[in-house]
Amino acid sequence: MSAPLLQVDQLNVAYRGADGLVPVVKGVSFTLGREKLAVVGESGSGKTTVGRALLRLLPHHAHITAQSLHFDGIDLLAASAQQMSQLRGRRLSMIMQDPKYSLNPVMSVGAQIGEAVQRADALSRTACQERVEQLLARVHIREPQRVARQYPHQLSGGMGQRVMIAMMLAQKPRLLIADEPTSALDVSVRQEVLDLLDELVAEQDLSLLFITHDLNLVGHFCDRVLVMYAGRVVESLAANQLQQARHPYTQALLSAVPSLKHRRASLPVLQRDPAWSAA
């Protein structure tokens, strides 16, 4: 097997607080090849922080250390700011949670995608516009010409997220980090966006790091799952073996997922064990 696209070994992230460093991510290790890797865990378990640390998009007071943090042979920790901005967008990209906040409210959709297009390769204005419309059509937006002229507040959530995806695809990245891309969307739109992501991953030779807390979704959408708790990876397993999870935290999470098939009196409450975060 060739070297994986992304190799993370003992990643630590800490924030400099009033009384010293506050650790947020503690010794996370994983590798990612050409696959769909899900990172699940409760709020505050460090999922998003891991995603942003890979892009070095954390605030200045974040302290990142790792034994190794390699993407496609490049050491992300040693990379200069200039190298990083070369990587961002072109090789590594990220879809954020809520399209409402991740699109600039005072720029038209077309102009925003256009910025990314122009960065990929300098095109004339009409060529750029054409490419923007192609991209919009690619993410299944009807009437791309009209949508390109619209502003983010005129779009629905699902459309906004598809616009975001179009923007990220403009530079044809190798690795896409999707940070809860569907949590701000309606259930009905959610599936469409996921199908789209699935399609693009298969078609464009993308690797996907999918950050989520939706366990149902992970089971059938991803290849592998990392379960995080309190800044650590507590379990790593194949997605189709999720039901056979051995770690008590994963089991507890799974049993807390409501189901239509079984009636139950009350939702089980997670009994936290201090040993989980010490492990």
């Binding site: 892009l55 998009l57 605030p59 200045h60 901005s85 070369q86 961002r88 967008g89 072109r90 990209s93 990220m94 954020m96 949670q97 809520d98 906040y101 991740s102 699109l103 600039n104 409210p105 005072v106 720029m107 910025e115 990314a116 960065r119 975001m164 923007m167 990220m168 530079q171």
Partner: protein, 276 residues
């Protein structure tokens, strides 16, 4: 654009402000044709005449027509207001946005600089500048500009600070946008509305400061018909010839009030959160 204008006119006070400023601009453009007399021509036989059919606002101690001087004075006032705004807007906006976006040491240095300027009363500081550079209209403009950018910078910084961490700025960086691009294509357009409002409000104080400098003899020099200077000259005859002071005083009042009203109205019109 027409939406904003519509909203502006719906508020009666704003419409009044806009009308006064419109009138001011029209008068300034047409001053040479509207004024019945040369604002500088003296006629001592006609000195200190009260307002009447021939001289609507009376004449001053040299027999110059006060109305004509007032009309030509609009040009000087507008000249100062426009020039100061053109200097202050971009300067304040740039300093503020850069400080807010980069934060850290850049922010500290730029903001201490603005604090230094802010800590002086603006008229006093402007006086000091003019005293150092010598009196004159151009120097007055420069002095007022140098004293009024910090307020804009503060405002732009505050806006940039709240916007800097927002997701769409991160997305722009994620796409590999350079700092300059993020600053000028993403941050500045978002800071513009509030800065525009602030600039309009600022125009009111520019009018007052300019008149103040003129009154103290440090702004426009005689015989230029600057309103502040006109009050200063008329003050000696104020008890007998009230019109010498009342006419330019009323003009200053009306114009600075109009800018304030317009600023207020713009604030309401440009703020999407206040849609009623």
């Amino acid at each position: 654009m027409s939406q904003v204008l519509n909203k502006l006119l719906r508020n009666r006070l704003t419409a009044v402000g806009l009308a006064i400023i419109g009138l001011l601009v029209a008068l300034a453009l047409l001053a040479p044709w509207l004024a019945s007399a040369d604002p500088l021509r003296q006629d001592l036989s006609q000195a200190l005449l009260p307002p009447g059919a021939h001289h609507w606002f009376g004449t001053d101690e040299f027999g110059r027509d006060v109305l004509s001087r007032l009309l030509h004075g609009t040009r000087i006032t507008l000249f100062i207001v426009v020039l100061v705004t053109v200097v202050v807007g971009p300067l304040g906006l740039t300093v503020g946005v850069v400080a807010g976006y980069f934060g850290g040491r850049v922010d500290a240095v730029l903001m201490r600089l603005t604090d230094m300027v802010l800590s002086f009363p603006s008229l006093i500081l402007a006086l000091a500048f003019v005293a150092a550079m010598g009196p004159g209209l151009d120097h007055a403009v420069l002095a007022i500009a140098l004293t009024s950018w910090p307020a804009i910078a503060r405002l732009a910084r505050a806006e940039a600070l709240t916007l800097r961490q927002s997701d769409f700025i991160v997305v722009a960086q994620l796409q590999g946008a350079s700092n300059a691009r993020v600053l000028f294509k993403h941050l500045v357009p978002l800071c513009l509305p509030s800065v525009l409002v602030r600039l309009t409000m600022n125009m009111a104080s520019v009018v007052l400061t300019a008149a103040g400098l003129g009154f103290l003899g440090l702004g426009a020099q005689p015989p230029l018909p600057e309103w502040g200077a006109m009050i200063s000259e008329g003050r000696r005859y104020m008890l007998d010839s009230w019109w010498l002071v009342a006419a330019p005083g009323g003009a200053i009042l009306a114009v600075s009030m109009a800018f304030n009203l317009l600023g207020d109205g713009l604030n309401d019109a440009l703020d999407p959160r206040q849609t009623s």
